[in-house]
Subunit: 332 residues, 4 copies
């Protein structure tokens, strides 16, 4: 299946990746990790829930942690629409497409429309949240990476093109995609965006759907090290999984952590801006990627967070992944 094409007159106006909802087993230890290492700020908290936002965010939350006694799953992936009326357009659109939706209650969030996307990822849309003061220029209130703002989510999908077409139909553009061999058509990884940078959601081919990681933008590379030094100093010395490194597409630098429940969170300095229609999807394959950094370890390649009540399917295409383990053993 070839690369899906963007619908430039989408049925409603999605503006950006907005938030993510995760289950965690111990709210207290997760709170310490996300406030002290990643540097998020708590905006609402009960015995069972924790709402956090990045220090630059004026919206109420971008990360919701729910206490769970079961397996820690990803409960929902959230997007913002521009105006409240966009939600009604969304409901009508999905109805006409035969996709079931429901209105859910989410504290400190305006009307919220929930549904499952084409690969059964639970997603939700809202238009408003209470507004809070930005704290990006208040270093005395910042901790660790002082994560500025939620940026994107990366998911594993059994069929990347199928997963992606759901979003291109909603107006998402493809910034980059990769194929296995230089003359392949089938996209095996796709970076998709609505806001002015290369990624709001990313899909890569693997058993799925699963939540691979979500990413927060930090101020600069110094903040990658502030997070790492803090992690080492306060008991999260095993949380670094990969990095610091530079993404193969050149978008940004990165560090990947595993949080206390194994959820993977990325921090990255501001990525490139992407707006113009001239910026057609870039096509990557094994022959044209920029690769000073070491390959990812096997667990980065294969481990991920399940979505709530969501069976995992085997991928349509099997590809050979090159791991750090193979790199170290000298096998190419």
């Amino acid at each position: 299946m070839p690369l899906p094409q963007t619908n430039f007159s989408p049925p409603f106006n999605i503006t950006r990746a907005s938030h993510i909802v995760l289950g965690v087993r111990d709210l207290k230890v997760s709170r310490t990790f996300y406030t002290e290492v990643i540097g998020l700020v708590v905006t609402y908290e009960t015995d069972d829930d924790l709402y956090l936002r990045g220090v630059e965010e004026s919206c109420h939350h971008s990360l919701i942690l729910h206490k769970t006694s079961g397996q820690p799953v990803c409960e929902a992936v959230g997007y913002r629409v521009f105006q409240d009326t966009d939600l009604d357009c969304a409901e009508a659109y999905f109805k006409s497409a035969g996709i079931e939706t429901c209105w859910i209650e989410r504290p400190y969030q305006g009307r919220t429309l929930a549904l499952r996307d084409a690969v059964r990822i639970p997603i939700e849309f809202c238009a408003t949240m209470p507004r809070l003061p930005r704290l990006h220029d208040k270093p005395h209130l910042q901790r660790g990476a002082a994560a500025l703002r939620y940026d994107h989510v990366q998911c594993l999908a059994p069929d990347v093109a199928e997963a992606g077409r759901f979003y291109t139909d909603l107006g998402f553009r493809v910034s980059d995609y990769f194929v296995d061999r230089p003359d392949d058509e089938e996209p095996l990884g796709m970076f998709m965006f609505r806001k002015n940078n290369p990624h709001d959601i990313v899909f890569i081919t693997r058993p799925g759907p699963q939540m691979h990681h979500f990413g927060y933008v930090v101020g600069d590379v110094q903040h990658l090290f502030r997070a790492l030094d803090t992690a080492g100093a306060i008991g999260f010395e095993n949380s670094l999984e990969r990095g610091p490194g530079r993404h193969g597409q050149g978008h940004a630098f990165y560090v990947y952590f595993r949080d206390p429940d194994g959820h993977r969170v990325e921090i990255l300095p501001p990525p490139i801006q992407m707006i113009d229609l001239d910026d057609e999807p870039a096509r990557w394959h094994s022959g044209n990627r920029f690769t000073w950094d070491l390959p990812p370890p096997k667990k980065w390649l294969h481990e991920a967070t399940p979505f709530k009540d969501t069976p995992v399917r085997e991928p349509k295409v099997e590809i050979k992944l090159y791991s750090l383990e193979e790199h170290l053993s000298g096998s190419k």
Copy 2:
């Protein structure tokens, strides 16, 4: 006059501030300043013209320098529209509004529609430029500030609300504005945006229209100093006018240079992201601004670049400006 209100169903889709066209007296010295200090890359060059872009930009140019034997003026301020058809919608819109337009030829730029805005600033719209490789991750090809991308232009206007309403009618939103006294209505400065940050065009009340400065985003605060050290080392030791400092609105840090013709150029690390409708215009006055930095020198307050063939009118409102000179003399 109160703050103009954004038209959320604009007649065509402007995506961002795109480029600026300046007259300079000595192309060679300007070339050195913009490539070595600001760090732009030359993409096209004749005996009379120089086209430059930031290292992250995939578009052909964001700064055009024209050799002039007369006074160095600003010839045009450019904006991008999303699709080529937006240009036709623009033409129709301005025609119906009684505003004269013309199609002009600009090398390495698609169809270009030129006109004057409500305060007689010469502006132009285009949808496409040839695409070139981004160089943001190639430090061996970078110089000075390694300016990433063109960000915004700030203009002086005799009537800020009048100037601004032209743009709110085109869908620009107001991120911030300032008034003289806490209970005033009249906006004396307005930051307006289309892309996902607080400024594509800024107006402040003064004799105008004049071009006060244009700004490029740089990677981080280190790059402010790389520019300054380079300026000092290669003969532009008098080019620093103001900074490094932090903007009163907290958007970003800044350094202001005067180029060899006196045109003012700002470099700034990535500013905050602004997308959500919740982010209503912030209102600033003398009582609520964040001010660790020193006030601007008188020449920053009063000197600017004229627009080509454009008479300057006195401002509608006279306000008291607080200068570095007054700060140093101890008068408040």
Copy 3:
């Protein structure tokens, strides 16, 4: 008088500028300034005294603040000697030189020998302090500039060569000095060092002796802005006096603050290393200084902290100083 010559077989081994003792009127506000903006750590505290150290320092203190109801003066400038026996050699040396010394008690400091140098600055020497853990790699315990370590003190002196010869006799080397006109002999400013960078003590010609400023090294230029943003956010928005800028000798970047009592404190990223004997004193004059930054304001040029019970003499040589005020008014 020409540049004094270093005694390479000094009578005892001074290793570095070590600490400074200042009077302050309100310990609480000074505590906030030095811990939150400069980022020092409190190691000992009573109702009348505050002992602080930089986050990289393993020594007990480098700044002592004494509560005073009178004029806030500088009570002493401290140096470290290498071994305890160096103190006895020092006592013998000063006795033979006809300089009065006394042993004083200073909490959390080994034996301490106090005296006045050639221009009547109260100085003291000690060999030991209790050792505490370094915190430079613990960002979760850091604030503001997270000042790493005390670096140097700059004093005004009526006769720079006379002031300096006292220290060259003790083994200090001159890294840089400046003269008025290119062919002058008389040093009007001298940077002197024992440790491996260009400055432990600096003298410049003015009415003196007075304490002009003391300096702490910070991690990098980011930390200059962390200090400034913090100052602006917590009520010290008027504490910035000069900078950020680059020193004319190229040693380092700088920011100068005035603390709540008017004492001037500099923060600077790590300066250059200076060890080899090949590095003969560099000679600066108006014709060879590197000057992208703006000249200092008059108060930086003329205001300073008196030393306790120490009359101020007029300088031997009157020189013309170029101020920011003159720069802004266009007079050279």
Copy 4:
């Protein structure tokens, strides 16, 4: 064997690690690597030799590359003494100790005394080099990491205590050492210094002597990434071996490269200052190290550059080393 004790009245005054001499097979490719990635500056060059210095260095060279057709070895490790007369004291001292010395000719270096240390490492001492302008504040002349200055060399030694005692007898102090188990006496790694930071020479227990790596100080963490991005962009994408990371002792961050001949070079931001006698040797073992970073790959642990004409002996103590490979496979 317990930790060797520093002789505080050494026979002559060594000031710092000064330079290193390496054989390389292709001068042109090595030149590109060291000038473009590491950012050294060429100061002298023939068909067979390349002399380079860091951008902050005023000395003529700190790295000498010799073209070789054989195995690329380390030919010599150089130290600076303070004064020329120190060289005569050195000669007399080694003679009395029964250690053979000779005076060698090394272009652009004063009198040079060569010998082998206690573990047969070829070392040399000199007091002077021609002085050249520092370029640390000239970003327009800098490339890649813009390495500021040579900092230290790390060697593998079959008997760390024996290797180290040679240097403690010459006045080197131990900043840190590590032992296998918490109650061990035998040092298995020793960081030793003369200048004001923790390392001029480091020994670790392995088959030796071999040259493990040499290190250059860079301005800040940004420069780690400038080097890496440059390496990736110009054909050295496989040169990264380890990092970016933070040293277990907390001294500094690091990146380790393998140069085109496999010589290992480290770049590190400015490490901590170490001067006072209070800073007694810190003792590290498996139970008290700071470890957010991943363990080193096996090749970092076991591969090194041989010294010229120098047989390698098996280590006195065999220790278990924990590698990245074991970490990834989950074995502790």
